[in-house]
Symmetry: C2
Subunit: 247 residues, 2 copies
Amino acid sequence: MLSPLIQKLEGRFTLSESDRSALRSASCRGRRVRPRTDLAWEGDLSDHVQMIRSGFACRYKVLAAGTRSIVAYVIPGDICDLNVAILGAVDHSIGTIDACEVVSIPRQVLDDLTGNHPTLNRALRWASLVDEAIQREWLVNMGRHTAERQVAHLLCEFLWRLQAVGLAGRDGYELPLRQSDLGDATGMSSVHVNRTLQKLRGTGLVRREGRYYSFPDVEALQAFAQFDPKYLHRSPGGVDDAPLRQH
Amino acid sequence: MLSPLIQKLEGRFTLSESDRSALRSASCRGRRVRPRTDLAWEGDLSDHVQMIRSGFACRYKVLAAGTRSIVAYVIPGDICDLNVAILGAVDHSIGTIDACEVVSIPRQVLDDLTGNHPTLNRALRWASLVDEAIQREWLVNMGRHTAERQVAHLLCEFLWRLQAVGLAGRDGYELPLRQSDLGDATGMSSVHVNRTLQKLRGTGLVRREGRYYSFPDVEALQAFAQFDPKYLHRSPGGVDDAPLRQH
DNA sequence: CGTCGATTTGAAATCTATCAACGATGGTGG
DNA sequence: CCACCATCGTTGATAGATTTCAAATCGACG
């Protein structure tokens, strides 16, 4: 089985066999973590970096009112605290959603890795910047869209991100999130998430059987959600496609 | 006059005279840009990095409906596209809000700078990561707060960020934003921003004379907004304050 | 003084949260 | 195998928040 991280990076970069094996040996030992368990707390300063090998997790903050705000979903192949050493301390918590397999990489090992493998270094920074771009997109998504668009957009994002690590088919995937998890991410109540999903199913753009979500017409769903995958920076052609423009 | 960027970095790092002068000579030439003018477009791939020396700008995307979504404010001392080279292309636009003085630094020069000045390299990456943390906080702020808290939180953030570059006093600052600019950032209509500001003024937490916003009781405002400045990673003590916690 | 942009106000329509109840489902222990 | 329980999904009704549209006011400035 291909590590989801390697698979993700190879979607964008050409890794050498040396890169691959270095990454593999750094991330060999994983531990199992139960659902709804914290992997890191706000204020933590860990000397390890964590990678999700399987399962879903999220970055979140808990507000004074006790409500939880999810600022990002962490899926297989995602690295949690790549930059925490520079920042000093994590400013949010990370918790699992379903059962996860988590790999801890000592910072020392990671530094060696990035120091000796320029392509890997570049690829990991790219992954981290894509995570940032996703956050920006969430900001856009949450601020100015109807509830249906928000949810649809999130479903599109999952499709692309899960496809990049081989966890989604052409038009669907299994999603272990509760509706209240979707609500904590979009700022909606779980009741409203429910009704929004029903509307989406009503249009035929979204189908659901248990945890399996599928999309009969992906193009149409993306158009409806105003989902433009450019922000995921997946296609290597993005650079060349950029139009020349003078200011 | 101290460069706002240097001032910001020195709030957190101790720069050598060599660091300072290198940064100063790299950012000597600035140009004036009119209000409401784009500095970069979605899809751009520039070989320059831009820094705002004076004035306000914002990162934004325009949606299909024509509405604008602001994902970040860029204030003096902020760098715009530090990581664009890795990402390939910018996935959002940057535009001025009022008249700005903008410095363009060729990527080549910047790479020399970070290559030869480890502390600067670290400081600039730190600044970039703080920008990311601010985005996370916006996500929290927008998703789960009342309109009053959202606006109050934004006003608190400006206070801290502007103080870090010497553009705010102890309890107030001049803010060149229109109410519709605040709305584009918070996802509210300008009408609702207006009414929200009125409520805040009604509580006595916020005062305004023209463009000058002031806060008679900053502590109270921050408490009301649930504003915790930790996410700005300003105080070097943050690391030591972090409680030890086992998982 | 007149104009332009921005702020303010009012009223109605729409969206969303909240509360409360019910239904489906899966796991557990007897 | 079944009763029980906990969790999540679904539904209905109501209250509250927010948008929208339109008009009035204010302020800076030529």
